[in-house]
């Protein structure tokens, strides 16, 4: 029997975002889809979980289709925990997160709610992929993403992923015919140069908006930033063992 795979879909822009609607439509072609996604935008939430307050999670119908959908008051990582422990009565074959409105390349992986859902699924032992399009706009055009989302998802379903590894996929904001293909990469070394914009409230109190610009400090041609700047879809394997193994030997020489 050729059982259809069970696919868990999540994101961080919220369950009504066009990016997740595109992802759901592609996944409906591949398997049985269950969506558990935040009821409000969770960008920049990193790997936050909800420990000091309560969570709600309720069935919802957002648009037509065979998928089952649940709207959850928590973070992307909460959604995956909720799906695995409360909603699904068997383990999903794969978890896909996104499609994010905006880049999660380079260091952004660490701030990304999209990737935290994928990482949380990876922690649970579920093969997982985060997808992002390099267009922050709500009305971004996700058409060119579909083929790559499908190819990579089908590959993961076929090949699996080793324990402790999930995938971070970023798609350049280009027309379908302009994209040169998929490139396996490492995370570029870069960071945000923040600028806090200081304002004064009508009550006379100072407050700030966090703004900034991402700076790529990495000249390597094997990075996700290079791939994206040169018209490729970037594919980075991501791990959540954060140990800096290379530095253990040195630390052992310290006078502690």
């Amino acid at each position: 029997m050729n059982r259809k795979p069970l696919i868990l879909v999540c994101n961080d822009d919220g369950i009504t975002a066009p990016g997740i609607r595109t992802l759901i439509s592609v996944m409906n072609e591949i398997g049985d889809v269950v969506v558990v996604a935040p009821d409000n935008p969770q960008s920049g939430m990193g790997h936050a979980i909800t420990v000091n307050t309560t969570l709600r999670c309720n069935p919802i119908t957002v648009d037509e289709g065979p998928q089952l959908e649940y709207s959850c008051s928590g973070t992307p990582a909460d959604c995956v925990k909720m799906a695995v422990n409360e909603i699904l009565n068997k383990r999903p074959d794969i978890c896909v997160s996104g499609i994010n409105h905006g880049s999660n390349a380079s260091l952004n992986v660490i701030y990304s709610g999209t990737m935290s859902a994928a990482v949380e699924a990876g922690i649970e032992g579920i093969p997982a992929i985060g997808f992002s399009l390099l267009d922050y706009n709500w009305d971004a055009n996700f058409d060119a993403c579909k083929e790559y989302v499908k190819t990579i998802t089908e590959n993961v379903l076929q090949q699996g992923l080793p324990e402790g590894v999930v995938l971070n996929v970023n798609i350049p904001d280009l027309k379908k015919e302009e994209i040169k293909g998929i490139k396996v990469c490492r995370q570029a070394h870069g960071n945000w140069k923040e600028e806090f914009e200081k304002r004064v409230s009508p009550q006379g109190e100072d407050y700030y908006w966090l703004t900034g610009q991402f700076v790529n400090l990495d000249k390597g041609e094997d990075t996700d930033m290079w791939a994206l700047e040169n018209g490729y879809v970037s594919l980075v394997p991501v791990q959540f063992d954060m140990t800096a193994h290379h530095y253990i030997k040195n630390l052992n020489t310290w006078n502690l």
Copy 2:
């Protein structure tokens, strides 16, 4: 001239938590201290940043001492960004975060607000350490921590840390004389087995509390979990390049 080091102090339990008050008292013995810490508890916030709302950050006096203190409405990562970009007029020589009420060993590093402050400082190129005591209680006894916090901080000030590496220090909940010393470790492989406790509100709606138990799946004697269970302070070097470098070669064989 023997300039005193400039020390940035942060945490995730909030600026009034006993853990950070202990950390400040130790740091006052070492250098000039500036505290920028959340105005409310931020446990489990992972590497969240505040992008969809405004931030406030104001001077505050919590207790006596030479330190300067600022209370910030954001996450631990926000506090570090705010300190570096708005509050301090020169780069701190070190950033210390904590002392957290509760363990940040093993996979907890990924959910930890305490560690996200240290990682954010590391991203900014500042040597950084997160400290945690394995006691979740607000009235935990931090006395035995002091000596280890001081030793490790002084070592980092002396030796520096390489780019892209910060330290995750966990201290067992033992009396001073019971602690056997410091052990350099790797992050143990383990995870949370969640249990959602389902309740019904007075309005008849379902809601959940996230609870669970941490399970150590790692039999290694070189892990932070082993060290802590055997009476040692654990010291793990942490990196924020999340690339699973070992898997790149394999991915390049996929049919993409």
